[in-house]
């Protein structure tokens, strides 16, 4: 009996393997008439190209996309979907970080530079996937029973922005809007009402936004995903729509208005966006060429295996495979490393022993052979960082224009500085007791050990290296007493302006300069700090691009050289492989946008 059972199972397994080897049928396009919310609709269906739908598949990394709610998104996978399914008033080209009109076709700026009046396109409809195709969302029937298309209006933006700022939603990114929009922080902190926020829809196509400062980055911040429009009728319900509350982003409910819209989201497994055929195509955002973009949720190693098996069209390359990819004639042609707007750095606790002297900090920074680190340890074409604000950001200095700005590898100069310090203090290198801490990860460990060796070789200093689990580490580096002398951190772009880097991170109260916290003990009252903070505020308001960049260059010089509060290490690149039949753009902003992508198979 037992052997029979085994035989049957064996047969089943064999049969499944044979069937699995058979090719899958190409899906056919079915033309359907549909009924949307009780109303029959005529839907234009474009005839499918003979080759079938144009589709690309990629991967986001393991774990579910945390959210596709514009107000709540913070990470790359979330913003990839959010920026495809909804767009902001302004629109950032992900390939070069230039700013273009988005849902607003134009805007006027008041004399004092504080009030922006946006003129919206009036032909962008709200759409949804109804299970078989993309359809336009309809308004509630009037007395005669007729419905109209719901069009994107200024009121949707006003609602979206105020919802993102509401204390009840508790959005992580409310502070980015609060940084720029009048009354936003107060509303978010529960000290003012929603009406006091400087965002007001005048009519369907006119939106007035009042900012705090006459700053160049205002237009960038208002285009950020946190300030996208969301469908009030779907979230809160109206006469003909059931309220979906926090669940409005689930597939089946979701409504959007971008060049793509959500088709499927099988949590933890994959998410698919589909071309919105009703996207009107604006001068800056054309109709997408792709029909569908699918993202799996795989670990890099699994993703690369799928790429090699031909099931994924563009993929990250695991560090262990980079050498093989570069050596392989086929894969090397498909490999490319592109800039990514992030910076990797070591911060100093400027109050702690030894590193409280600027000469020590500078010597440590100068003794790091950044190019050597990239060539021998990182290997993915990263760029050595001489300052903090990643080139490619608006107004950030570039290596072409400022080749000598900031800090460079200079072993002899570093040794001279440290010798001067040791002589003055009357101590030897053996007396110097400095600890470098990073969050537990094999990648950070390799970097830390390589730099530890450079310090040993170039300065003769034995620096201790230690690590902590990520969240414990974050507590430690923000503790006034426990902050280690040197700690690892990184920063990635929210909106591509130098202001988002050097100012938001290092001014007092910024992410790496927390009041009363550890890290950089540099704050108001210190005349050098005050001058530096004023320079950054002036730079934010400066209209002349060249002058603005010059001002940021000055500020960077102070940060990494004169005061040497941090040691910048490298600027990120994202390296990946793409199948030759995919025409694509490369994102410097972190998330891919698929509007200009195409496939030819």
């Amino acid at each position: 009996m037992r052997s029979k059972g085994l035989a049957v199972i064996g047969l089943l397994v064999a049969a499944s393997m044979i069937l699995a080897a058979c090719g899958t049928a190409t899906p056919e396009t079915v033309i359907q008439t549909v009924v949307v919310e009780g109303t029959p609709m005529v839907v234009e269906v474009t005839a499918a190209a003979p080759a079938g739908p144009k589709m690309v598949t990629g991967s986001f990394g393991p774990g579910d996309v945390p959210t596709i709610d514009p107000g709540l998104s913070t990470d790359t996978s979330s913003t990839t979907i959010v920026n495809a399914t909804t767009i902001g008033l302004s629109y950032l080209y992900e390939s070069d970080a230039t700013l273009h009109p988005g849902a607003a076709q134009s805007w006027d700026i008041s004399e004092d530079g504080l009030v922006y009046t946006f003129k919206l396109f009036d032909n962008i409809p709200w759409v949804k996937w109804d299970g078989s195709q993309v359809v336009k969302v309809q308004t509630c029937p009037d007395e005669a029973g007729a419905t109209k298309d719901r069009m994107l209006t200024a009121y949707d933006f006003e609602y979206g922005i105020k919802r993102a700022l509401s204390p009840e939603l508790a959005s992580d990114y409310a502070y980015v809007l609060g940084f720029a929009i009048k009354g936003a922080n107060e509303y978010n902190a529960g000290e003012a009402t929603a009406d006091e926020v400087g965002v007001k829809a005048i009519d369907d196509t006119t939106l007035e936004v009042t900012f705090l400062e006459d700053a160049a980055y205002n237009i960038n911040i208002i285009g950020l995903w946190t300030a996208h429009a969301v469908p009030k009728w779907l979230i809160e319900g109206d006469d003909c729509t059931e309220a979906r509350g926090d669940r409005w982003t689930e597939p089946g409910f979701f409504q959007g208005y971008g060049p793509f819209t959500l088709k499927e989201w099988v949590h933890d497994s994959y998410i698919t966006i589909v071309k919105n055929p009703f996207w009107p195509g604006t001068p800056d955002i054309p109709m997408p060429k792709l029909d569908e973009v699918k993202h799996l949720m795989l670990d890099e190693v699994a993703e690369f295996a799928e790429y090699e098996a031909g099931n994924v069209d563009f993929s990250h390359v695991p560090l262990a495979d980079i050498e093989r990819v570069k050596a392989d004639p086929v894969l090397s042609a498909e490999y490319r490393s592109a800039p990514n707007l992030c910076t990797y750095y070591y911060g100093f606790n400027t109050k702690a022993p030894f590193v409280d002297d600027v000469r020590v900090r500078k010597a440590l920074s100068m003794a790091i052979d950044r190019q050597g680190l990239i060539d021998n340890v990182l290997k993915a074409g990263q760029e050595p960082a001489q300052w903090f604000s990643r080139p490619g950001l608006v107004a950030a200095p570039t290596m072409a224009d400022y080749p000598d700005l900031g800090i460079k590898y200079d072993a002899a100069g570093a040794k001279a500085l440290i010798d001067e310090y040791l002589a003055e203090k009357g101590i030897t290198a053996a007396d110097v007791d400095i600890t470098l801490m990073f969050n537990t990860s094999s990648g950070h460990q390799k970097i830390a050990e390589a730099i530890q060796q450079m310090w040993k070789t170039n300065l003769g200093l034995d620096i201790k290296v230690t690590n902590q689990e990520w969240k414990v580490f974050l507590e430690t580096i923000r503790d006034p007493v426990a902050t280690p002398q040197i700690y690892r951190l990184g920063w990635c772009v929210d909106y591509p302006d130098a202001n988002n880097f050097i100012r938001e991170v290092f001014i007092e109260g910024g992410s790496a300069n927390i009041k009363g916290g550890g890290g950089i003990s540099w704050g108001a009252g210190d005349p050098e700090y005050d001058a530096w903070a004023q320079l950054l505020l002036d730079a934010a308001k400066e209209r002349d691009p060249q002058k603005r960049t010059d001002m940021y260059a000055q500020a960077e010089e102070v940060l990494v050289d004169t005061y040497a509060a941090i040691a910048p290490i490298y600027w990120y690149t994202s390296s990946g492989v793409t199948k030759p039949y995919v025409t694509r753009s490369y994102a410097v902003t972190g998330h891919n946008e698929f509007v200009t992508w195409d496939v030819s198979k």
């Binding site: 085994l6 699995a20 992580d172 670990d299 990520w470 951190l489």
Partner: protein, 360 residues
């Protein structure tokens, strides 16, 4: 038997209560909170988040709130809609119950495991509903594979002790134990997925909705071609320990007096083995089946990562690194419940396998 069950049930409740209290205490004792980020959040934002998730309350209150949300069924009255129906509250992630329905104006709600802090569009209930079935399917298949391979291998090795069969079976067992999934998995993916292209390298063949909330709705070749590699990789390790246990236990039982008695009274050797020896020798195997079942059906982090399987396993790990408190509590409690229930079944199996054991 009835009294035995009641006693076991009460013990189970006590065990679960202690597990939940220890888990809650430990996770809050670890430094770092769910909202500590590389980009430090301003205090106002942290205040809003803490208020939304009641993290601003004293720990004792938070723990009481958790127990109340999970355990206590509650009723509420719905307001009447002008159209004649009842106005249902707007769906909210902080107010999401596993069981929620209304009869007329009376709404019944039970078991709210809380929202996930890391996935801001999901709750722990969602994770249970969508990821547990996947882990269950993979776990059952690898357990089945482990038993089908391990038990016969162990029996064969014991009956043909010190022959080529014994050495062969035990070599396979040692291979299974010493080659972990983290090595075997990528090798299988490389051979069958990437090079031969016989099987999809990653992914899972079924997706919600599931039959009875657990079983795949498309149980066919399409399902098995995804399931076969991870089931084999995961099952091989367990099959190795099952084989060794079976062998050791059977070797011991064969030397017992009652086996000699059975042989002496002239029973056929086949009957001696199947009726008397085998049944008794399975007791140690059944003992490890309880914990093994609980471990396999709640998912395994490494296997899921290698084969890209959307199961529960990764939540056991990522919830802790994220300090995602409700997910930590939910996953640990789920594991604890499965473990104690599985152990009750194991105890019942003892009574069946060994006539000397009775529960009165």
């Amino acid at each position: 038997m009835g009294r035995y069950f009641v006693r076991r049930l009460l013990w189970m409740m006590l065990v679960l209560f202690v597990v939940s209290a220890i888990t809650f205490g430990l996770m809050h004792a670890v430094p770092g909170g769910p909202f500590s980020r590389e980009k430090a959040l301003p205090q106002e934002i942290l205040d809003n988040l803490n208020a939304r998730y009641h993290l601003d309350e004293p720990l004792v209150v938070q723990y009481a709130r958790y127990l109340y949300d999970v355990m206590i069924p509650r009723f509420s009255l719905l307001e009447k809609d002008p159209d004649g129906g009842y106005i249902k509250p707007i769906p909210s992630l902080v107010d999401d119950f596993v069981i929620r329905f209304n009869i007329g104006a009376v709404e019944f709600k039970w078991m709210n495991f809380g929202p996930s802090y890391a996935s801001r569009s999901r709750t722990v209930n969602d994770v249970f509903k969508q990821q547990l079935p996947v882990s269950f399917q993979l776990g059952m298949m690898s357990l089945g594979f482990a038993l089908l391979l391990g038990v016969p291998m162990g029996i064969l090795a014991a009956l043909k002790q010190n022959t080529i069969w014994d050495y062969l079976g035990m070599s396979v067992a040692i291979f299974g134990v010493s080659v972990p999934v983290i090595v075997l998995g990528p090798i299988l993916v490389w051979i069958f997925g990437v090079s031969l292209k016989w099987l999809p390298p990653t992914g899972w063949g079924s997706q919600p909705p599931y039959v009875l909330g657990l079983f795949p709705s498309n149980l066919g070749p399409e399902f098995f071609k995804y399931a076969i590699m991870p089931s084999v990789a995961l099952g091989l390790v367990s099959s190795a320990s099952i084989a060794r246990l079976t062998r050791a236990s059977l070797l011991q039982v064969i030397r017992e007096d009652y086996i000699r008695t059975a042989r002496a009274k002239g029973l056929m050797e086949r009957l001696v083995i199947t009726r008397h020896a085998l049944k008794n020798s399975l007791i140690p195997v059944v003992t490890i089946l309880g914990p093994l079942f609980a471990a396999l059906v709640t998912g395994t982090f490494i296997t899921e990562q290698i084969f890209g399987i959307p199961g529960m396993g990764k939540y056991f790990v990522t919830s802790i690194t994220n300090r995602d408190y409700p997910v930590i509590m939910g996953t640990i409690l789920l594991y604890a419940i499965l473990l104690v229930v599985a152990n009750v079944f194991v105890d019942l199996m003892y009574a069946y396998l060994d006539p000397r054991i009775r529960y009165d």
